[in-house]
Amino acid sequence: MRENATVAEELATRSADDMDLLLRMTFKDENREDAEAALAEFFRRYQTTLLGFAEKSGFRALGWSPDDFVLRTFEKAFEKAGLFRAPSGLPPDKLRLKIQAWLFQIAKNEFLMEFRKPERKQEAPTERERTEAEGQAPLPEKPPERFDVQALQGKKAAVRTFLDALPEADREMLVISMNFFDFKTGKVHLPDDILEGLAESMGTTPESIKTKRGRLLRKLEDYLETTTTKTTQSTKQRKEL
C-alpha cells in the first residue's frame, strides 16, 4: 500500500499484531505514511464483519451505501485509534472481539448521527454517544437477559417466518427501529429527532412510522398466537392417535 515501502516493510505490516497497528495509527501526525499502512492492514482484517452487517441490516432501504457506512466507521477509527483501550495480555481472540465491539460502537454512533438533522450534526455528540464511540463503555460478554423473553424461546422460528413474509419496506422499517430497543423498559424508544430523520430517509411521516410499527407488532402477536394454537392442536391430535 505504501508507495515507497520495501517488501520487508510490507511483510512486517502484514504480520503485525492488532495492538501494534492501532499504536502506529495513533502516530499519524509524526509518521503519516506508516500510520496509513497500518490503517490499510487493519481495514483488511476487520472490514468483512462490518460490511456483512451493513448489507444485512437494511441500510440500503434508507438510501445508504453499505460501503460508505463502513468507510466512515474506519475513518473515525483512524481518528480515534489512540482512545482504544484493552487490558494487557488478552488472548488474540479476545482482543479481536474487543476491537470488533469498539468498531461497532463507532459504527452505531455514525448510524445515530446520520439520523440527526443537519443543524444537529454540527453539534457535539451527546456524552453517551461520545463515551460509546470512544470505547469507554465496552460491550458486556453476554446481553442483558429479560426473564419474560425466556418463555418465548420456542417462538423464534415463527418470528423469522413472519419477518420473511413481510413486504420489504415494512420489514426494513421494523428491523431498523429495533436498533433503538431499550433493555431497561423492554421497548423501543425512538427519540423525536431520530424518528423524524428515519421518516425522512424512508419518505414517510413520523406518525405513519409509529402507526405502521404498532400494526406490525400486533400482526406478529396474532401470528405467534395462531402458530401456538396450531402446534397445540397438532400435538393433541398426535397424542390421540
Partner: protein, 124 residues
Amino acid sequence: MKTHGENQAKSGVTSEALEGLLHQVLREDGKVFPVSEEDIRNLEAEIDPNEVETIDPARLLARVRREKPEESSKVVPLFGKTSSEVEDELQAMAARNGGQITDEVRKQMEQDRVNAEKGLDQEK
C-alpha cells in the same frame, strides 16, 4: 380493529416480551447492532466472508487523505488538449447531429458568407 390490550389478554404475551423476543431474534441473525461480545461472535458465524465483496483499502486511504472522489478523477479528456478550431468544428458537428454537409449546402453557405461580408463592407 383489535387493540393491543385485547391481544395481550388473548395471547398472554406482554408487548415488552414481544419486542424483547423480536430484538433477540434480530440480534442472533446479525440484523441489528450487537449489544454484547456474544452477539459479535454470532454475527461472525452468520457472515460468509466469501460472499462479502470487500472494499479496496485504497478507497479508505483516499478518504482519510481527503482526496477527491474516485469518480471525478476518472473523468479525463479523451483526446488530450484540442485547439479551439477543432473544438468549434466538433461543436458544429454536434449541432448537425454528426451529419456531413452536402456540396449544395456548402455552396449556399459560402454564398451566404460572401453576401454577409459584402453587407459588412457596405456598412463601413
